[in-house]
Symmetry: C2
Subunit: 634 residues, 2 copies
């Protein structure tokens, strides 16, 4: 039978299937978390996918006519279990068809900050106007707030003013005023001072994360995430900023942010009209696309952002479903691709006020690195790509149930001890698992420091696959969920090397340009979606960053998101973020004359100059995997 | 033949016609300034009117099918010369069918003020970004303005940012930045610093006035006016604020303001995108309706405005056709119906900084009066009605060509010397003419101090008309444009008395409540559309205000409009207007226990206590028209 390639979106995951295979079986093979309550029996109608090219699959079945609405069918919705693949096709897996079991990976460090949100509520009971006191409604409210709460320079939101007279009378002059900064943005009948929420959003190139925060307590009441719906328009920032339909990119990311919000609201019983402010972080391109700023020139040398400083807009201007007069504060960017997310990381790790030298690495599809302390900070951006998110890795997957997240290889048998998320039978490997895996593969000599498979190994787990590519069987078929070997090939290793080389180069060039030695670094903050789950020893071993004492490495999770949350609950955090944006020096990696050399040297695991990694060298020697001839150096 | 009543809008002018009369002849009879180049020959196609009730007139004629477009015909457009009246009907006269010859009556005093507009322009030549200087586009602009012009705290308008990158590159980094307050609202290729305009608007209950101002010189480059298109929704403020379709009222006034703007722009070659700010004055109801603020409660005791303080909105938010990022600053109101127009009058007359006591009277459909000086100011609003604008007066008309504006009656023959605008044959009487007329009628004994016609006069000019109402023939038919007597009846006199009584009451109650004697008043500022044309002796004689030395009375024209213009050219004027709004005390006339008494006494010309008007009494005695028995007093 002939082989056909299909692609699952938004993951961008390719899989080779047999003709007439069902889409559900294809999805299960590569660990797409598609809901299927009846396990493919064609009963539950849950495994909905969207297929635009109807000719590449079989016609709609009777069962589907029954289980899908007309509107769904017109929009290309199919049931994955009934849909047989006839030709190359792109399959979109909508969020509502996801199992939703994937680990959120949006937790970030909690950095204590004094509660002082920009949005506040005050309960008011006014005297009714009389001929002796016929003050304007606006003055009556503002005077009261001044007299009772000592608030000054207040004004009223224009949209609120339009129906203010009806609101205050409808509430019988007893109501709660919602004040954002010094603007009264809402009037609510009765005392609602205990209900006041904000929404913090981290727009990652690959993943969106959203947090509903109680602004009376700074507590996160709900958090959720979603694949960035811009992925089908381009996996990396360069392809997105070159995309001709910029308006669509803004539209889909706004829809995604609304979608997270909807699901969170429902979960915790918060209403849109109770959310008065939103803060946003993201790299420069995500920042520009979200705001609808034409981003093309940010992608062209010398990569100038259009806007650096923070900006406040009205939520309804771009269609975020919060309170009608809610504000959105987008944190400032720094320079080049180093954006508001990095400002968030610097804010939440408090790197900006450390006396000792710190390094922050925010791992993502674009990885930002910051080096310095309260006196000087320098930042750079590295195109690490989406490998750690599972893209372009045959068995790569999101951190959902059944993803292998920890790996240990027996150096003699090359057998694997592994842990999966939720202890489910393994489906694929997530980011932290891949870092473990490559570290273990080099330790045990399955690959050499160049990442090349050792063809001399006489072990059934190492084999040449049908594409004539070497691969390692991580989990044999009898243990996997899909009864299919989970493997990691030469190609997959190369993807990981590419990613780690980009990051390593960034760190090395920052050290060089800041005139700082790696020994001077007192703390390394590992941020990013899977920052909390990463095995820092493995990461150091493969050379994601220079060799630094393990106890100096601190996983901080989604520190960018924490920065956004801090700005929701603290005026001061907002002010600090503006200062951070002004203060950080930007390093354009490409202009450093050593860039090429260091980047190529970084393709060696952990680095072409093995002397820079004495700990790793020691381990390799211990396992007899230290190279007998030094690796090539540029 | 039977008589039919028809109404011309927006004047609200009723006229009785014969069945089968043409609308053109009806319009000419009552002085509606309808263009008719061919003088009713059915050739020019200029006398377009709009008729909604097609059954009340004849069917479309062949000529009209030829001269009107399909779209016009579908919208009820007819040619007045071809349209025969069959039944009672409302005829709308669109602005484009007006002769446009009416006197603008929008000139106001010129109050010198230091040129310091909120909108300014700066020409910029930037260095192109390089890898050594990859600053954000926003920073590049803001830094330059800071370094070259010492401007601080600048930010960029969000809408500008979206396409900023394209704009600056399209302009080859040489452009003009337009700054409103501290926001960069526009980027224009090349040096356009010599083109910077503002638009000041006075929204009167009956008339709109607009001024395009050169913000480099503070010179008015064009001024124009229009009947307030809200008139068909109600002639006075009370009926407008009770109108169920508030949104429509906002829409039509915005359209009117745009219409004036369009005609002015064309005349002087200014483009919308060169106008960056608009300032607006108007009484509280006009202010609220313009802003789309629900106004109902302003009309209900105790008459609290919804908004008192000044407000800034975006022009496009309500659809004014200025630069896309232009701002509208609406001046603050005071209290009750005393609105932003009064703030404008106080600003432009500089009453707020006078050491001597001054009185300002802003005559209009609603008349506002202010009494005081730098230490104390008190204001009130009087419902004077639209009589002086020509409404409800049989031969009342706007100050257009052919309007009688000055009148002198020969005390022996009762013949009339008159002057018309443009020296055209008389059609009707405008506001200043009516004040002259009533003053002359009482001087010559045609009416008594109660306003009652003297039936004993044996003079052909005084007669009982067919409705059994006494009337005075101002101009006999052989001298008039329409070969029809221009008369002034008992009813018309009553309308003028009602108007002047309202104003007089306002002034008297302000004096009483401020504890000021009329002798203490050092200046009376007569403001309002026809303020410059009014005969102050006549106005004083009929008791529009207490008897004050004539040399203290200063006509200041549209002083409210001047106030709006001052705020366009001066930041300081804006700040002062806010202070004025806070400082002026408001007097609600209705709650003064003497209100009824004084109002009724004010129905006597000049006032029930004739001793308060020694000059008028002296004139009446001179002409033997001083009453033998004192007029009734309450």
């Amino acid at each position: 039978m002939s082989k056909i390639n299909i692609i699952f979106q938004p993951e961008g995951k390719r899989v080779e299937v047999e003709k007439e295979d069902s889409i559900l079986s294809a999805a299960l093979k590569v660990g797409i978390d598609l809901t299927s309550i009846c396990a493919g029996k064609g009963i539950c109608g849950k495994c909905k996918v969207i297929i635009d090219d109807t000719k590449a699959v079989n016609d709609l079945t009777y069962k589907e006519l029954e289980l899908l609405t007309l509107e769904e069918r017109e929009n290309g919705v199919r049931l994955a279990c009934f849909t047989k693949i006839k030709d190359e096709v792109v399959v979109k897996v909508p969020e509502y068809s996801r199992t939703g079991k994937q680990r959120l990976q949006i937790e970030g460090i909690e950095t204590p900050i004094k509660l002082n949100p920009v949005v506040k509520k005050y309960y008011i009971e006014l005297e009714v106007p009389t001929l002796e006191d016929p003050r304007a409604d606006s003055d009556r409210i503002i005077d009261y707030l001044h007299n009772m709460f000592n608030l000054s320079n207040l004004s009223l939101d224009y949209n609120l003013i339009k129906n203010l007279a009806t609101y205050v009378r409808g509430a019988d002059w007893k109501f709660t005023a919602v004040i954002w900064q010094d603007i009264i943005i809402s009037i609510e009948p009765d005392d609602t001072t205990d209900r006041i929420f904000g929404y913090a959003v981290d727009i990652g190139t690959t993943k969106l994360a959203g947090y509903i925060v109680n602004l009376n307590t700074s507590e996160v009441v709900a958090a959720g995430s979603l694949m960035n719906p811009q992925i089908p328009f381009g996996e990396d920032v360069i392809s997105r900023l070159n995309h001709p339909e910029q308006e669509k990119l803004q539209k889909v990311v706004v829809e995604g942010i609304n979608q997270i919000l909807e699901s969170l609201k429902e979960k915790v019983g918060v209403r849109s009209k109770e959310i008065y402010e939103m803060t946003v972080v993201g790299n420069t391109i995500m920042h520009h696309l979200f705001l609808g700023i034409f981003p093309l020139y940010v992608g062209r040398s010398p990569y100038p952002p259009v806007l650096r400083s923070s900006i406040i807009i009205n939520a309804k201007e771009i269609g975020i479903n919060l309170h009608p007069n809610a504000k959105i504060m987008v944190l400032p960017t720094i320079a080049g691709f180093v954006g508001a997310d990095t400002v968030g990381v610097i804010l939440s790790t408090e790197l900006y006020k450390k006396s000792e030298i710190c390094l922050a690495i925010d791992i993502g599809t674009n990885t930002e690195v910051v080096l310095g302390n309260q006196d000087n900070m320098m930042a750079a951006s590295c195109a690490s790509g989406p490998a750690f998110e599972g893209a372009h890795i045959k068995f790569g997957m999101r951190a959902a149930s059944g993803a292998i997240e920890k790996i240990k290889i027996n150096s003699k048998t090359l057998d694997v001890d592994y842990e999966t998320i939720d202890n489910e039978p393994p489906i694929g490997i997530c980011g932290s698992g891949m870092i473990d895996l490559v570290a273990e593969m080099i330790r045990t000599g399955i690959i050499d420091v160049g990442g090349i498979f050792n063809r001399q190994l006489n072990n059934p787990r190492v084999r040449m696959n049908e594409d004539k590519v070497m691969e390692y069987i991580v989990v044999p078929s009898d243990q996997t969920a899909n009864k299919r070997d989970i493997t990691f090939s030469q190609k997959d290793v190369s993807q990981i090397i590419l990613a780690k080389a980009a990051m390593h180069t960034g760190v090395k060039l920052l050290l060089k340009n800041s005139n700082i030695k790696k020994e001077d670094i007192q703390s390394v903050f590992l941020a990013g979606a899977f920052g909390s789950h990463i095995n820092k020893e493995s990461a150091r071993m493969i050379g994601v960053f220079p060799e630094i004492d393990l106890d100096k490495i601190i996983a901080v999770g989604n520190a960018a998101g924490t920065g956004a949350r801090m700005c929701l609950v603290s005026k001061e955090a907002k002010e600090i973020s503006d200062k951070i944006s002004e203060k950080v020096n930007y390093l354009e990696l490409g202009i450093d004359p050593d860039f090429q050399k260091i980047f190529l040297n970084s393709h060696i695991i952990p680095y072409a100059d093995l002397d820079e990694f004495p700990q790793t060298s020691k381990i390799l020697k211990e396992y007899n995997n230290y190279p007998t001839t030094p690796p090539p150096r540029f």
